[in-house]
Symmetry: C2
Subunit: 316 residues, 2 copies
DNA sequence: CGCCGTTACGAATTACGTAATCATA
DNA sequence: TATGATTACGTAATTCGTAACGGCG
């Protein structure tokens, strides 16, 4: 009744392996089985599967041969499950549902109903640049989890390498072999002072003149610091750095109470400038502007949600 | 990065159907995905799947194309699941397990660790014939459920037609279009009497002589009764049927208390004969013997367990 | 150079659909 | 005769494996 002329090779393998993982049966056949079992009808199943009736018939036969026994009782009224067929039906249904579920989950991710974005970015850049984008993004995709990592940029690059974060927003740091950089904007370092230095307000100063005043810099060996040092060397000036400050907000505070002249990123302290707590010194040779943007791994495989957020960032 | 050059036709269909049942993805690809995800390694997966490395690689690519997004991050160290890949992994694992489970269940049935046998058979035939076989069978396959249906044979044949029972053990009833009959043995109807008729013991009687005595027959319009009537017609004798008895055991009881001469199947009452409660009358013209055996539907699709039991019955 | 994944391509298999066949109500 | 399953068979598509390639430590 059953023609075991097929799968001879596979059956041999199976025998040689002495009960393999039972994964050797073509899963497509289970799909066909499921549809035929639920419809009880090869014709209807064929329609549902978008293949011809004989194809379905043959698939069922193949499954029965692969397993080694009948699953359906054929009649001119349709296909009725045998006892064995009924016995395996539930498991196969479970399998089909599980696969459908996998599909749905994938769809959730693809349609941004689910997902996680891990961003490496400094708090300053977050406040100045990222926050409004996150607000927009979160409004549209409220179920995407966003994680912000604020380690120093050197560590963030390591995390980007290892995949701990999806991408990194930071200042441009020269060409790189394993990351690709995409600019998003420009930052400008400026000299700032408080009312204690009101005499300097409005004056167009030279760098030499500035060196007469105490300068406040960030302590941390950041790229900003290195750039400032390079700037000084290039212009043959040397500042009397009175104090190194740990954080940029603290630096603002020191400037405000008149401790000295600070070097800060204009965009980060725009609010302070607007409020008049500090003012920008007019210097003839301005500090070089620096580009910031996002870094991603060069292979560029990113999740749907990351793609979408980056798309949003690049839109403007 | 992804080449959507494949499945164009299927994708079109999917679009036209506006979110189909999500069954359109080749389930084989899920199997491949599962193995690659668990091994984290295309090479190892290829070995496990008994196909070549490039084949696995291409399958994974096809799955990613079918779904519409990446599932793995490729590296020269192996394959790492993306967030989305991790998200669907569990469901796919569930599906694979469900299908494996279906396989195991099938194996249980094929190896007779599970199963049900529904037999139609009279109580007499059960006691006389079937019981020892069932004992043997049950000893070897204790987990097979055996159900005995003892309706009249006409109803049992209907149940066999509808599939309510797997096969039917009964006396031969002439050729049949939808059942096939396989003989298992012979039954012999005899005339019996108790000590009240001791005068007849040892005598070689003619049928005419027998007609002088009251005859006890089964009331129910069984095939046995019809055969007996036919026998009488053929031999031009007419019995004075004093009493019709409902059941064969009751008939024995009536014979035992000397109510008359009974017609019974020798094999069924062998114990009574051995115990000397009743004796067989020696009649010159003996009642015709009748074959009994099992009936199955002509298409002959039976479960593993039914096959095995029938095999046992036919062995001797 | 070895490991691992991908691409290319020709050969073999398979899956498919059309048409014909069978069986039953 | 109509419905539904199976068989036959030629075609078309897919799958597979071999070989070659590319990146990385």
């Amino acid at each position: 009744m059953y023609h075991y002329n097929k799968n001879t090779k596979k059956l041999l393998l199976q025998l040689l392996l002495v009960m393999g993982d039972e994964m050797d049966i073509n899963y497509e056949l289970y799909k066909i089985f499921y549809v035929v079992a639920t419809t009880g009808n090869v014709t209807a199943a064929a329609k549902e599967l978008h293949i011809s009736q004989p194809a379905v018939s043959k698939h069922i036969r193949n499954l029965e041969c692969s397993l080694g026994g009948p699953l359906f009782i054929r009649s001119n009224q349709g296909m009725i499950l045998t006892e064995t067929g009924r016995a395996i039906y539930q498991s196969i249904k479970d399998g089909v549902n599980a696969f459908s579920n996998a599909n749905l989950i994938f769809s959730d991710y693809a349609s941004l109903l689910k997902g996680t974005i891990k961003i490496g970015i400094s708090t300053s850049l977050t406040r100045f640049y990222l926050l409004p984008y996150l607000e927009t993004f979160h409004k549209e995709y409220p179920n995407i989890t966003i994680l912000i990592y604020t380690d120093p940029s050197a560590m963030l690059k390591k995390k980007l390498q290892t995949g701990e974060i999806d991408f990194l927003i930071a200042k441009y740091n020269g060409p790189d072999s394993e990351f690709s950089f995409h600019p998003l904007g420009e930052l400008h370092d400026i000299f700032i002072a408080s009312s204690a230095y009101d005499s300097l307000r409005g004056k167009n100063l030279t760098l030499e003149e500035l060196t007469k005043y105490p300068i406040l810099l960030q302590r941390e060996p950041s790229t900003s610091r290195r750039r400032f040092d390079a700037f000084c060397r290039e212009n043959n000036v040397s500042f009397d750095v009175s104090t190194y400050i740990a954080s940029s907000t603290l630096l603002e505070d020191f400037v405000k109470i008149g401790f000295g002249i600070g070097v800060a990123t204009k965009e980060y302290i725009q609010k302070e400038l607007d409020q008049g707590n500090v003012f920008e010194l007019s210097v003839m040779k301005s500090l070089p502007s620096i580009s910031f943007g996002y870094y991603v791994l060069k292979d560029g495989i990113t999740s749907f949600s990351v793609k979408k957020l980056i798309e949003l960032l690049e839109k403007r």
